[in-house]
């Protein structure tokens, strides 16, 4: 099990130190005058919101970016890495948030690409098998990366680093793609590495994990270093406040309505996989009740986008039975027709799917609202109506705009997301279906959007939220179902669920044999690797 590393001995010199590091992109300063130290064998967290400058900072360490001013010392000597190869040669390894893997290549080829040219090619497959088994993250050298699970793909990334015996390992948001169980496995590996003297720089915004794994944290906000803290002496709330800069109001957990009528019912929805990297949907059944938020959890790539397409009507098949209010079959209706029936949708990708970046807000507001009275008169768009509607949505949902009616692309991610969610909620739908409502959105906007969805349900509508973010699922849902490899579990009352049970469902087991937890999972992983 994971045991947090004891604090570093301040007697030993730092492995890596940074002094006054600054990096700007045009007018935007991503990092401002940052000092930083990490010691050998230390598990150190780099904490901050999206856009706080974490990625810029580690890219400077790894030689992908060059600081405008300031410098690094490596083992006491000033050093400058002009590219990642030099950083790797010095003993720095990095695992990226969005993996730098090549799907159409084998594990060996992927690893060979990250090794220096002089690294012996012969015996590499053997070495990979040996070393990965040694760290408890077994890998088959000749399997294709595209065939691996996300957790296994991350092992490939880690193995790339381990083969070069790094003294510093940088992990950029490594747990965002993992099940809770896989996260524990990863932490075991990291603790093992730290015990051998390798320093680990762990980037995250998940506070529980940071408290569990690391001993010290450097906190960034808006490009500035805000604090360097001992993670054991701070509560997660204190860490969160340092990270965000303001107090965070917790949203009220919703109260589940009793015996609410079903708004929509889906039975036996199946969908074959479209392409090689798509997931087939298998016999999906779900019921959306009035006044209720149904959370659909699951790791990315388990059929979320396919399910969303089927719900919105962007994909329509014959093997689908969608029923509205028990009677009317809407399975063959297109998205616009479904909207006329009181449904509303917010797809995952806000740029280009939920909104058109090159259109103005008023035009974007109209795109899903043509059917509203007054929007179109005798085939001509009522521009005043559109502008007023956009203004109303912006006011209701606190959308900060650079001008009265800007291009959608001029809005920040959080503000545009508030706008596309707000646009749908403003129509007072009977059923709102949202995919990844707060992906890449700052904490403040995320809270706002979650509260808006809860309020909509409280007003008697039904809400379906598809999200990879477990914290979000628990914050908004009355009932929770889990999507795994295209199959949807039963919807369980949220009160009966915890991250462990959800993690099991994400791994494909059922709640009923929860007692066999760990054994099932480790066996499954081994089978996948061995078989």
């Amino acid at each position: 099990m994971v045991s947090p590393k004891t604090s570093k001995s301040s007697a030993s010199p730092p492995l890596l130190a940074g002094f006054g590091l600054t990096k700007s992109f045009g007018d935007f300063t991503a990092n401002r005058n940052i000092d930083f130290t990490i010691y050998p064998g230390e598990l150190h967290a780099l904490l901050g919101e999206n856009g706080a400058g974490k990625s810029t900072f580690v890219k400077m360490i790894y030689g992908l970016l060059q600081p405008d001013s300031g410098y690094f010392e490596w083992q006491g000597k000033p050093i400058h890495f002009s590219n990642p190869q030099e950083a790797r040669a010095a003993g720095i390894g990095m695992v990226f948030q969005h993996f730098s893997l090549f799907e159409a290549m084998s594990v060996v080829e992927n690893i060979a690409l990250a090794l220096p040219p002089e690294f012996p090619k012969e015996g590499l497959p053997k070495l990979i098998e040996q070393k990965s088994a040694e760290y408890g993250i077994p890998l088959r050298p000749h399997s294709l990366v595209a065939d691996l699970s996300v957790g296994e793909q991350q092992r490939v990334e880690i193995m790339r680093c381990l083969l070069q015996d790094p003294s510093l390992l940088i992990m950029d948001e490594p747990t965002s793609v993992l099940t809770p169980q896989e996260t524990m496995q990863l932490f075991d590996v990291l603790v093992k590495l730290a015990k051998q003297g390798c320093a680990v720089l762990f980037i995250s915004h998940k506070l529980e994990e940071i408290k569990q794994l690391t001993s010290r944290a450097t906190i960034l906000r808006g490009g500035d270093k805000i604090a360097e803290v001992d993670t054991h002496t701070k509560s997660t709330n204190q860490l969160a406040e340092l990270m965000v800069g303001t107090k965070i109001a917790a949203i009220k957990p919703p109260i589940a309505p009793k015996n609410a009528p079903a708004i929509m019912q889906i039975t036996g929805l199946s969908r074959p996989a479209d392409g090689p990297f798509d997931t087939a949907l298998r016999d999906i059944n779900l019921t959306a009740h009035a006044g209720e938020v149904l959370g659909i959890a699951g790791i990315a790539g388990n059929g979320q986008s396919e399910l969303m397409d089927a719900l919105t009507g962007e994909w329509r098949g014959t093997q689908i039975g969608v029923f509205k209010k028990g009677a009317e079959d809407i399975s063959q209706l297109n998205p616009a027709e479904r909207r006329l029936n009181g449904l509303a949708f917010v797809p995952e990708e806000r740029n280009g799917h939920a909104a058109v970046p090159s259109m103005r807000l008023s035009e974007n507001a109209l795109l899903t609202s043509f059917e509203r009275a007054g929007a179109v008169q005798m085939g001509v768009v009522n521009q005043n109506y559109a502008a007023q509607f956009a203004d109303r949505v912006s006011a209701m949902f606190d959308v900060r705009r650079p001008e009265a009616n800007p291009l959608a692309s001029a809005l920040s991610g959080g503000n545009l997301q508030k706008f596309v969610v707000g646009r749908e909620i403003a129509k007072k739908p009977e059923l709102l279906i949202v995919s990844q409502p707060t992906w890449g959105v700052d904490v403040g906007a995320a809270q706002f959007i979650r509260k808006a969805m809860i309020d909509l349900a409280a007003g008697g509508a039904s809400v379906i939220v598809i999200s990879q973010d477990l914290e979000e699922i628990f914050a908004v849902s009355h009932k929770i179902a889990v999507l795994h490899e295209g199959s949807l579990s039963k919807a369980y009352p949220a009160a009966e669920m915890n991250p462990q049970t959800i993690g099991l469902l994400m791994g494909g087991s059922t709640i009923d044999n929860a007692s066999k937890t760990a054994r099932t999972i480790s066996k499954k992983t081994n089978n996948r690797v061995a078989g």
Partner: protein, 302 residues
């Protein structure tokens, strides 16, 4: 009689092999260069001009290759340096090459040169049927060697691994510290050189004179061939012989007054490519197919 036909088929396939192998390397690095036809024409006119001026067809080979490479360099400048749209730039390159080669070649029309001599290997060339393979010229022999070397380079060497990685995911390759633009630049130059060689083969071997637009769509067939070969060098040579065979059949058919319209035969290579594409994509996970970042523009990220 059959020997002769087979020889003609082989000769017809050489320019296709050369140009398609070059384009294959370019596409494996993630760049789609639709300017093959234009580069071939530039190669053809330069080869003819160089051979005519020097009186030496071997100098024509080098001239053809370099001319193809030079126009490919212009293409690289646009798609890599200025990150322009690859499809549009490639088409522009074809139009540019067609026009410029016609302009340069205007005074050359009607002239004749000594083509490349065939290098018949003793004994081996006397074997019935197979002997045809040993009655070729130096460029034909070279083309086989180049296919072999390209295959080894792509599949066995570290540099080839890096080139393929850039084509599969340029962001990942960049993150690992590889110079995406440099890799693509050299790939494009190689592709241009090969297209130039392919073009040079036409006036140096097939028809020893220059005519405007003499590639007659071979550049487009080479492009189709890369897809037909599903980006595997060896399959390019097999496909080239097949496509070459179709071209010859078309000519032979016309001579003999077959009832199949010539237009039908000239569409066969493209039809075959479509059939192959459909078969490949029907096979499920197509991992040895198109490089995933083919035709995508690369921008350095923060």
């Amino acid at each position: 009689m059959f020997d002769e036909l087979l020889l003609t088929v082989l000769l017809t396939s050489v320019p296709l092999i050369l140009a398609a192998t070059g384009e294959l390397v370019v596409e494996r690095s993630g760049v789609l260069n639709l300017g093959v036809e234009g580069m071939m024409l530039m190669g053809a006119v330069a080869a003819f001009g160089a051979a005519s001026l020097s009186g030496n067809p071997y100098i024509g080979i080098v001239g053809g290759g370099l001319a193809g490479m030079a126009v490919a360099g212009v293409f690289a400048l646009f798609v890599l340096g200025l990150a322009t749209n690859q499809v549009a730039t490639g088409l522009a390159l074809t139009i540019f090459g067609t026009g410029l080669s016609g302009l340069i070649g205007a005074p050359l029309v009607g002239q004749a040169i000594d083509g490349l001599p065939s290098m018949t290997l003793p004994l081996l060339s006397d074997i019935p049927l197979i002997g045809v393979f040993f009655q070729l010229d130096i460029m034909a022999y070279l083309s086989i060697l180049i296919v072999a070397l390209t295959s080894i380079f792509l599949m066995r060497s570290r540099a080839g691994l890096i080139l393929r990685s850039v084509g599969i995911n340029h962001d990942s390759a960049h993150a690992l510290g590889y110079n995406v633009l440099q890799v693509r630049f050299f790939a494009i130059l190689f592709g241009g050189f090969m297209a130039g060689l392919g073009g040079a083969y036409l006036p140096l071997v097939l028809t020893p004179h220059w005519a405007e637009g003499m590639t007659a769509g071979r550049g487009w067939i080479a492009l189709a061939l890369v897809v037909f070969a599903s980006w595997q060098p060896w399959r390019v040579s097999i496909g080239a012989v097949l496509f070459g065979g179709v071209t010859i059949m078309q000519l032979a058919g016309q001579a003999r007054g077959w009832t199949i319209p010539a237009q039908f035969l000239s569409m066969m290579p493209y039809l075959a490519t479509i059939v192959v594409l459909v078969t490949i994509s029907g096979r499920g996970r197509n991992v040895f197919g198109a490089p995933m970042h083919l035709g995508k523009r690369f921008f350095m990220t923060r």
